[in-house]
């Protein structure tokens, strides 16, 4: 059984069909990239998968449970328990330190544990920046804090919305490397991007156009092997 399955999902904003009868399956442990030009429905799909938004019609099966008809508060619980989110604009709480931002996710999920949060920051190579505020961190560092925050609760699935959109190439590489490691650990990854370089490292790429799945490619370059690069 797939971890996530979208069956005939449509999202309609007024007269605009942002998603038009989309069918997607994501297997457990899979690394999927979603691509497409602006306005193709990437973000809408991301929001629907991330339980941030509801589909107009269709079924969304997460772990075999249809979440399409769930109430807002049930969706909140699903986000909390099963999903880790990474945003293009990072969205860190400005008055909390890096480690506190990670702990915030723990706080809503279960119990904040500073040690665990520090370990998560260590995994993204930010152990020495844990006490810094977002304004004292570079964009790449902020995005790594986001990654640490997303993975801290061991979610079923990590959703990244244009994770490298605000980053330079060096930082982009670091983030992609983090994704590789997550993948290696067996985490399911869905990355929405318009950057082919980020997309092509995934196992499979789905290209959306006008709210429909245009085509789907299995990435020939994906080996499952990790090329190690050092994180500073």
């Amino acid at each position: 059984m797939s971890l996530l399955e979208l069956r005939n999902v449509s999202k309609i904003y007024g007269s605009l069909r942002a998603l038009d009868h989309v069918n997607i399956k994501v297997e457990k442990g899979e690394w999927l990239a979603i691509m497409g030009p602006s306005g193709s429905g990437k973000s809408t799909m991301m929001n629907i998968i991330g339980a941030l938004d509801k589909a107009t019609e269709g079924e969304i099966l997460l772990d075999g449970v249809d979440i399409a008809k769930k109430s807002a508060s049930a969706l909140t619980d699903i986000r909390r328990d099963k999903i880790g989110l990474i945003f293009q604009q990072f969205h860190l709480v400005s008055y909390l330190t890096a480690v506190e931002n990670v702990m915030l996710a723990q706080y809503y999920h279960s119990v904040p544990d500073e040690k665990e949060a520090l370990e998560a920051l260590d995994r993204v190579g930010l152990a020495d920046r844990a006490r810094h505020y977002p304004s004292q961190l570079s964009g790449g560092e902020q995005q790594r804090v986001c990654v640490a925050r997303a993975l801290i609760n061991y979610p079923e699935i990590i959703l990244a919305d244009e994770p490298t959109g605000n980053l330079d190439e060096a930082n982009e590489e670091i983030v992609v490397e983090l994704f590789r490691r997550l993948h290696e650990d067996g985490t399911t990854l869905v990355v929405v991007t318009h950057n082919p370089e980020v997309a092509e490292v995934a196992q499979r790429t789905i290209v959306l156009r006008n709210g429909r799945v245009d085509h789907e490619t299995i990435n020939p370059g994906f080996t499952g092997k990790i090329k190690h690069i050092t994180l500073q």
Partner: protein
């Protein structure tokens, strides 16, 4: 669970301390509101007392008259004891006798000058009040009639009451029998009333002049009390001191009640209006401060925070702010009320400790309510929209 609570407080303190400029704004707004609340309420409560003291410048509001022939010192003391020193502003017993100056009758009053100063603060004395034996204060009209000035000497004669004298002033030739005493005029009294026709001397001088022990005809009291209490005092004195009949000077008491009631109503109304407006100000400021954080609320929701926990966090912040602002404002308000009292009434304000918790509770309540509305509307927001950038 303890860790969770710890994180809760960590977040609140972080938000309060690290977002300093915004929090100072909110704190300022709340403490101003609280200051106005505590300051005005203090003034409102204290105004009748302070203003009542001012109204004592109208002079005596209670008159003790003799139920029998005259009043003794003991009777006066008994009456004063019934009122108590805290409410009794002034007491002046008067003894009236007709004396003759240059063979013309003049009404002479003997009193305790210190008491008279307090019961008749509106008396305007050109010169000095009599302080030592042989000194006399004369009414303006008397001064004009006899062409007397401050420092001049005058002689008062007194005819001891005989049968004929009591019958009707026919004893003008019997001056031989009269007592007399020389006085120095120390002051000329200007009141615009009957007092200008009298001469005022000290009690021992009157005793010496008449050769009779002091018994009073009338006693004026200036009592600082609300009109209800005042009539209660009067009734009690009349009841417990048989020689005295206590009466209220209606002209003073009734008018004082009217004016004080109006004044207090004015301050109350002003307090209510000002308070309502400042509360709205506090609410709008808090709304602005919370509205600024919509994106953060969206993020927290995306991270899986329930509406209840978001409300709890933001309210926690609001309540801390409310309590801190309330405390600060209550102290400032007290200082303000004190400053007003010192400036207007030259006296210290009554400290009302209960006002501190009341102010804090009120400001916590107002801040809480002011936060609740924008937080509620913010939690209704779709996190996806907020996070996608405005």
């Amino acid at each position: 669970m303890a860790k969770k609570r710890q994180m809760y407080f960590r977040m609140i303190t972080a938000s309060l301390l690290r977002r300093r400029s915004r929090m100072v704004i909110a704190l300022l707004a709340i403490s101003i509101g609280a200051m106005i609340l505590s300051g005005l309420v203090t003034i409102y409560i204290d105004v009748p007392r302070q203003m009542g003291a001012q109204f004592r410048s109208y002079g005596a509001n209670m008159i003790l008259t003799a139920a029998g022939d005259s009043i003794s010192q003991e009777d006066v003391d008994a009456a004063a004891d019934l009122i108590g020193p805290s409410d009794l502003v002034g007491l002046a017993p008067y003894r009236y006798e007709t004396v003759r100056v240059n063979d013309r009758p003049v009404m002479a009053a003997a009193t305790d000058m210190e008491g008279a100063r307090k019961t008749s603060p509106f008396w305007r004395v050109d010169g000095d009040w009599p302080a030592a034996s042989g000194e006399i204060m004369i009414g303006k009209n008397v001064a004009r009639t006899y062409n007397l000035k401050v420092g001049k000497r005058m002689t008062c004669t007194f005819a001891p009451e005989t049968e004929e004298a009591a019958a009707g002033g026919t004893g003008e030739e019997e001056v031989v029998m009269d007592n007399y005493k020389d006085f120095t005029v120390t002051g000329i009294l200007d009141t615009g009333g009957n007092e200008e026709d009298y001469v005022y001397m000290l009690l021992p001088d009157m005793e010496e002049l008449t050769g009779e022990p002091t018994l009073y005809d009338i006693c004026e009291l200036s009592v600082s009390a609300a009109s209800g209490n005042l009539s209660a005092y009067a009734d009690r004195i009349t009841e417990s001191v048989p020689a005295i009949h206590a009466r209220l000077v209606k002209r003073v008491t009734e008018s004082e009640t009217t004016v004080l009631t109006k004044l207090q109503a004015l301050v109350l109304l002003v307090t209510v209006v000002v308070l309502a407006l400042t509360m709205i100000c506090v609410a709008t400021t808090m709304t602005a401060v919370v509205a600024e954080r919509r994106r953060e609320i969206g993020l927290r929701k995306a991270l899986g925070a329930s509406n209840a926990s978001i409300v709890a966090e933001f309210m926690g912040e609001g309540l801390v702010l409310g309590a801190a602002g309330g405390l600060l404002g209550a102290l400032l308000g007290f200082m303000f009320a004190q400053a007003v009292s010192m400036n207007v009434f030259n006296s210290s304000i009554t400290l009302m400790p209960w006002l501190l918790p009341v102010t804090m509770a009120a400001s916590v309540l107002v801040t809480g309510l002011a936060c609740l509305i924008p937080i509620r509307s913010a939690t209704d927001v779709d996190p996806a929209l907020v996070l996608k950038g405005e």
